[in-house]
Every structure is written in C-alpha cells, then in structure tokens.
C-alpha cells in the first residue's frame, strides 16, 4: 500500500504558498525552475484555493474505500504496471494523464469490468479480483459511473434512464421512484417537468452529462466514478459540470474518482491528483504538492495546459 505525504495533511493547508516553499528543500542554483513553479502557482491560484475549501470539508474521514495494490494489466501490450492508488472516504481523486495512458482502464478495474493480471483491487474492504460475474453486479451497485459520452439508453426517456437503476435494485413504488427521479434531476439543475419525457437524442451534450450524473447517483452510491466528465464540452459547461461534481462531494459526501485530462478542473475539485504516464503513476498527491513538484514530467504536464 502506498501512503503519500499528502495523507499526513490533516491540518489546513498553508494560507500562502510562500511559506510552504520556504519549508521545502530546494536544490541550489536552479532559479529557472523556481521561476517556473511560481508561474504555475500564480496560474492555478484560483483553482487551488477552491480546492482547499473542499479539502477542509472532507478532511475528517480517512478510511480507504478504493484501493489498487501493485496492479498490472496487459492486453496486446502492457497498459498498467505496478500501479498503486488509495482513495479514502470522502475524497475526490483525479486520475490525470495524456491520452492512452490507461486512465479509463483504471476505472474499469475499479468497476471489475476488467481484471488485473497481478495485484489487487479493493472496493469498500472487499477484494474484487476473483469475484464471480454475478457478485460483481452486486458490488457495482455501490458505485455510480458517469460515462464519457453519458451512455444514456437511447430507447428510453430521461425519466426511464434515471429510474432504471431504481426499478432494478430497489423495491420503491412508482410514486417513490418518480419523487427520487425528480430530486436527482433537480440536483443536477435540470427542470424535471421539461426534460423527463425527452429522449436522450433531443438533449445537448451538457444536459446528457447531467442526466448521466443523475442516473449514476440515483441509488445513492457511496462512490461516484467519472470518465472524462468535461471532455468535448465548451468552457462554460465544463465549469458547470465541475461545480456539479464538487456539489455532490460537498453535500452528499460521496467519494469520487475522476478520470480527466482537463487539469484546470482537476485542480478545482481534486483532493489528490494521480498522474499516469507510461503505464506508471509518476505522481500522487495534493494539487499543492503537484505544483511544487520538481519532477520534470509533472512540470511539463502542467506547463502543457
């Protein structure tokens, strides 16, 4: 199990970044690097601050809810090698990285849609490597997944989409289901009466994402997983969806794992960021640690935004 320095951070984050920098040991004679770091901090100042607020609220709980232990996976070529990751209850962990580095694969491993070749995947205290297909279906009910393209069932109305997991897994009456669907649609800022009878094809990209989130959270899962929640959206909608994910974390205390290459929104919502590169996790820690990191690749990744 890998514990990262960020785990010791129970105390509120330092109010100014200057203090933290003074504490951090720095190699002599690299003014160029230091300049770059300052630039990065300035650039992400707003996002970092917003992130801090969220962190404080969830700092209380520390129990691990999703763990990857030395996970390796290969298909035709190796996808992940010796990847370890701990997500604690109430945290929002963003898995970032370039395209094709196995980010979405990580989500599929957590959902047990894929099995690791070696290593263990633990969800809510249960090792899910070797569970049967039927057991996996039950474990997945603890998790709500939001797909990149929303993956709404296009033969069903918005109402039926959100009601689907409720009909499958709960004994709720029709009235209770309708109340729950309305509640979830309102939570994602959609007007239930306007959208409920529409088909997914009639919705815009941002609305589809929101219905996808509403469907994912319908059975009140403890864990929400997001696959590129903001990709393909305009900057304004990206902001809306990011705020929505933060609202979910804040008000419902759900644990979130977000796969994203959108580093800007990652900084806003993440408790921790895991950076995947070349099949490995090259960085895992808080957004502050990330901007402070001297690692060349981390710097390049942030600089490339």
């Amino acid at each position: 199990m890998t514990d990262t320095p960020a785990d010791d951070k129970g105390a509120p984050a330092p109010s100014t970044y200057g203090e933290e920098r003074r504490r951090a040991p720095e190699p002599e004679g690299e003014p160029r690097l230091r300049r770059a770091e300052d630039e990065l901090r300035a650039r992400f100042a707003e996002e970092l601050q917003e992130g801090e607020e969220t962190q404080d609220r969830v700092a209380a709980s520390r129990e691990a809810i999703v763990e990857l232990e030395h996970v390796s996976l290969a298909f035709d070529r190796p996808i992940l090698e010796d990847v370890s990751l701990v997500v604690r209850r109430g945290e929002t962990v963003v898995i970032a990285g370039e395209s094709g580095t196995g980010k979405s694969t990580t989500l599929k491993l957590i959902l047990r849609l894929l099995r690791p070749d070696t290593g263990r995947v633990i969800v809510d205290g249960e090792v899910i490597n070797d569970v049967t297909y039927e057991e996996a279906l039950i474990i997945r009910q603890k998790m709500g997944m939001v797909f990149q393209g929303a993956a709404l069932f296009d033969s069903m109305s918005v109402f039926e989409n959100v009601a689907f997991p409720l009909r499958e897994h709960t004994e709720l009456t029709d009235d209770e289901i309708e109340a729950r669907v309305r509640e979830k649609l309102e939570f994602v800022d959609l007007e239930p009466d306007r959208v409920m009878d529409q088909l997914p094809a009639e919705l815009s990209g941002g609305m589809k994402k929101r219905v996808g989130i509403a469907r994912g959270m319908a059975v009140n899962p403890a864990i929400m997983l997001y696959d590129e929640p903001t990709s393909g959206l305009d900057p304004l909608t990206t902001g809306t969806i990011t705020r929505l994910i933060m609202k979910l974390q804040r008000e419902l205390k759900v644990t979130s794992v977000v796969v994203s290459h959108d580093i800007r929104s990652a900084f806003r919502m993440a408790t921790k960021i895991a950076l995947l590169a070349d099949r490995h996790i090259v960085f895992f820690g808080s957004p502050e640690d990330m901007t402070a990191s001297q690692d060349r690749y981390v710097q390049d990744f942030l600089g490339g935004v």
Binding site: R140, Q141, Q148, A151, F153, E168
Partner: protein
Amino acid sequence: MLAVQEYFGLAAKAIRFIVARPFYIGDVIQQMDAIGVESLGIVLLTGFFTGMVLALQTSVQMAQFGATMYIGRLVTASMVRELGPVLAAILVAGRVGSGIAAQIGSMRVTEQIDALNTLGVDPIKKLVTPRLVAALVMMPVLTILSDTVGIGGGNVIATAYVGIPVGLYWRTVWEQIASGGFILHYIPSDFVQGLVKPFVFGGIIAITGCFFGINTKGGTEGVGNATTRTVVVASVLILVVDYFLTQVLLFLFG
C-alpha cells in the same frame, strides 16, 4: 473456434435466463412487436407469391402427366415443410437479425452495454433473452401465416389458370396434411415438422444478431460489419441447419 464457443455460451446463458427473475415482460412484448408484427407484411407478401409460383410451376409439370389436380398437395407439402419456414426465416434474418445487431452494436460502441453492467444489470438478461423469447414465439406464428397465405396463393393460380375448383383444391390440401399421419391423434405430423423448424430458426436469428452486436468493435464501421455478418451467418446457418433438421425430422416422423 473461440467464437463458436462464445456463440454457444451466449445461447446457453440467454436460454438459462428465460426462467430466472426478473422477467423483462415489457421488453419481450416490445420485441415481439418489432420481430413479429412489423415483419408480418413482408412475410405475408412473399408467402403469397411463393405459393402462386409453386402452383404455376407444378401446373406446367403436372400437365404432362395429366395430374394437375394434385397441385394442392404439392403446394402444401412444399410450403408447410420447407419453403414456408425457410423463406420466412431468411426474410426475418435480413430484416430483424440485422436490426438486432445494429441496435445492440450501437449500444456497445456508445458504452450503453458497459452502462448496463455498471448499473448492476446483466446485458444478456436485459437485451438478449427478451429478443430470443420474442423470436422463438413469433417465428412459428409468422410461418403459420406465411404457409396459409402461400397455400391460398396456390389456390388463386390453381383455380384461375388451371381451372381446379376451390373445393377440390382444399380437399387435396387436407389430403396432403393428413397423409403424413397424426401425432397424439390430432396434430398432423407435417405441422410439427413445419413448426420445429421456425422455432429453431428464430433462435438462430436472435442469437446471431445479439452475438455480433455484443462483439461489435470499432465505432460505426463496426456496427455496419456486425449487421452484414449477422445476415450472412444467420442465412447460411438457417439453410445448413435446415438440411440436418430435415434429416432428423424425416427419420422421426417419416
């Protein structure tokens, strides 16, 4: 080889789910509508013309022996035992099998199958089993209707071209049906043979469509490939299985 194993694995799982809760009755009815009711027009039309052409051809042949009064028997034997089931099945494979593959294939490429999985629902149970049940029920129904209309089409030609009275035509039809003997005293063995086939073909169509749909890879192009393969594989399977099934049925019922 692996694909064959997967194909039968899918079939076995889909069949097992027929008797397992929850039952998606709504989905089954919807599929019955899509597979059965919406195919009715095309199946009836082709059945009718097949019956007519059978009557026309046999009338020419039979005229050489002066046996044109047996047109009814020949049309009935061909329609009920062979052409009714096979033609209806091939049409439904083209119309419905491709539709199943396209629908499930697009669900695969837009991650809707993954979504079902993550929502804790087995896609085979939710998607494949209702289509299988609907096809198993509707294919025999379609075939009976196709047979009936086909024999009726034969009647039109037999009466209009050859001048066989309607009453005589239908009496020869019944003679043919009765000639195969009865099972359990009441059910003509020809009917049994004629209904075992569409039942099996219905299963082939549904499973083939679902199999290629679920295994769709590579975006919209993959969906196109899946539909094409479904029609080709299902049609070939229907014709090959028809031969072996006929052998078995002839052995059993004569």
